[in-house]
Every structure is written in C-alpha cells, then in structure tokens.
Amino acid sequence: MLEPVKLANFFIVFFSAASVILFGAIYALTFAWSRLKNRPRLMPLAYAAYLGLFAAVIVLAWAANLFNNTFWSVIVLLMLAGYLVAPHAIWHLCVGTHAEDLHDEVVPIKVFQQR
C-alpha cells in the first residue's frame, strides 16, 4: 500500500533525499581518493560520510513512510548494504580490469586490501 508523504514532512523528505545523494557522492569520492593516493588516514572520513548517508536514508525512509511496509523496508536495507559495498566492489573491478596494465604503468596502485 502506498502511503503518501505527510505535509509536515515535506521539507524533510526533500532535504534528506538530497543528503543521500550528497553523502553518497562524498563517500564514493573520499573512498576512491584514499585508495588511490594510498592514504589510509582519509578512510575514516569516507566512513564518516557513509554514516551521514546512513542517517539520511533512515530519515528519508521514516519521512516517506517506508517503514510501514515490508517491501519498502527491505528496499531501504538493500540500499544501505548496497551503498556500503558498492565503492569496494567497483574499486576491485577497476583494479581487476586494469590488471594487465599495471606492469608497465608508472603510477603504482595498491592492488588489493588497503590494510
């Protein structure tokens, strides 16, 4: 069943949805940056962004009445898990697809786990 957003929550919905996008982009960006530049110290920043993302998704889900419904609750959980894993997975894929290239490349890239 579809339950439209309450009028009072209108602004919260738009604001939290925008935050999801923003935090998601920051998370992906800082994550990739930290890996690329080999700076493990940046990694907590990435996970802080993920925490922000997590909070934003929860607020959005609450405001948009997503938790009143099993299907939408599952979607929310999937989103949270997917977002956490996605940058890791894509990074792996980047390294994997460029594997052959690495031998003759000047820029050293750390192939697997950071620590």
Binding site: M1, P4, L7, N68
Partner: protein, 232 residues
C-alpha cells in the same frame, strides 16, 4: 602483448562481462515482455482500471478508498453527456474524435494528461471533475464555450491565457467526452488530495465499484496505517 596474457581474474575479464551484458539485457527484456502482456490486458478499455468508453453515459466521481488509501474513480448513476445516451460504438467514436482533437491541437504542448506533457497549464486528468466549472449542470456547456473561445478568459493574475485553437463545436463536445472518459481511469490516486466538483443531487445514490468513504476526503486526515490493501 595483452592478448598473450591469460586473464587470471575471471570476474574482471571481458568475456565474463560480455556474457553478463547479454544475460542481464535478455533477462530484463523477457521480464518486461511478460509484464507488458499483463499490463496491456489490464489497461484495455472496458476493464476495471480503464472503463469502457460508454462510461460517459454515467456519473463519474472520484472518492477516497480506505483500503487502497487513495482516491479512486467511481462510475455512478446514469448521467448521459449532453443528455444523450450513446451506444458503446458511438461513445468510442466520440471519445476518439476528442482524443484526435487533443492531439491535433497539441494540448500536451502546455497541459499534462495523466501527468505527462508540459507544465504551462493545468493537468487535465480530472478536468471533467474540476470545481472551476462551477456547478455540475452548467459544466458541459461551460466547457464547450471555453474550448471554443479560450482566449476570452484570463485565468490568473499573471494573465496566462489559452490561445484560440480554432476548435469547432463538434470538436469541443468530443473533447469534453474524451475528458469525461479520461477522468474515469484508475490512476492509483493521481492527482493526490483532489477535491472534485460537487455532483450530489437529492435523489440519486451511486452504485459504486468500490465502497466510497467520505467524498473529497483529505489524505492527511486519514493516515490509517492499519487497514489492509483491498486489491493488489
């Protein structure tokens, strides 16, 4: 160089992703085809969601359905358009003429229909039920007059008007038929919170498709979470 190397990481290889691309595309497409068969069946005119064209012979209302938690169209008592009851074939011909008119005049260049189109002028999905027409009895003629000479009516403080598109009386009446029929389509509660024109009269009691709750219900007032979905 590259081709002599064996690809160690199967999940990062070109051939793996080629197969992935093909399977994902084919899989999604097959699912889409199945869904399309079902959807087309459900949106064919003369079904529950998209009523027969002869629905224009009856009153069409838009009332809150507590089970589905949004407003749904209800086909009510007999109330023929322009006072003339039409056969199914006549009704289809009239609605079709109206739809052709909306296409030939490019209504979608300013209006939205079922929410799709341009945003320079109001949505027409429930135009038939809009309170702006005043009373239920004057509505039919008011719509025809407006369509034939829209440039005479300025609608807002901004002075935004509809141009005269050379709509004939026949076309105007057919367009009204098309709009009346369109308002009978079950759009899953779109547009939300809509307050239709008052169509009640003393004697008539509608024979509803779904049990209507309080008419013109306010969605915010009825955040009844516990009720179960009536249909899915």
């Amino acid at each position: 160089m590259a081709e002599t190397q064996t690809q160690a990481l199967w999940w990062a290889s070109e051939s793996f992703w080629r197969k992935m691309a093909i399977w994902v595309t084919a899989g999604s497409f097959v699912v889409l085809i199945f869904l399309t068969f079902d959807t087309v069946k459900q949106i064919t005119a003369g079904t529950k969601r998209v009523p027969a064209y002869s629905a224009i012979n009856n009153r069409i209302d838009y009332v809150f359905d507590a089970g589905r938690n949004f407003q749904v169209p209800v086909i009510g008592v007999e109330e023929p358009l322009f006072g003339k009851k039409l056969t199914e074939a006549e009704a289809e011909a009239m609605v079709s003429h109206g739809k052709l008119t909306t296409q030939a005049k490019n209504c979608m260049g300013c209006h939205t229909l079922l929410g799709n189109g341009a945003y320079f002028a109001p949505d027409l999905t429930k135009a038939w039920l809009d309170p702006a027409w005043g009373s239920k009895d004057a509505r039919e003629q008011a719509m025809v007059d407006f369509l034939m000479h829209p440039e005479l009516a300025a609608h807002n403080a901004l002075g935004r008007r509809m141009p005269n598109l050379g709509i004939t009386e026949d076309e105007a009446r057919a367009t009204v038929a098309f709009l009346k029929w369109m308002s009978s389509i079950d759009t899953n509660g779109f547009p939300a919170n809509f307050k239709p024109i008052d169509q009640a009269d003393a004697a008539a009691v509608a024979a509803p498709v779904a049990e209507p709750a309080a008419p013109a219900a306010d969605l915010a007032a009825s955040a009844d979470v516990s009720s179960t979905p009536a249909q899915q």
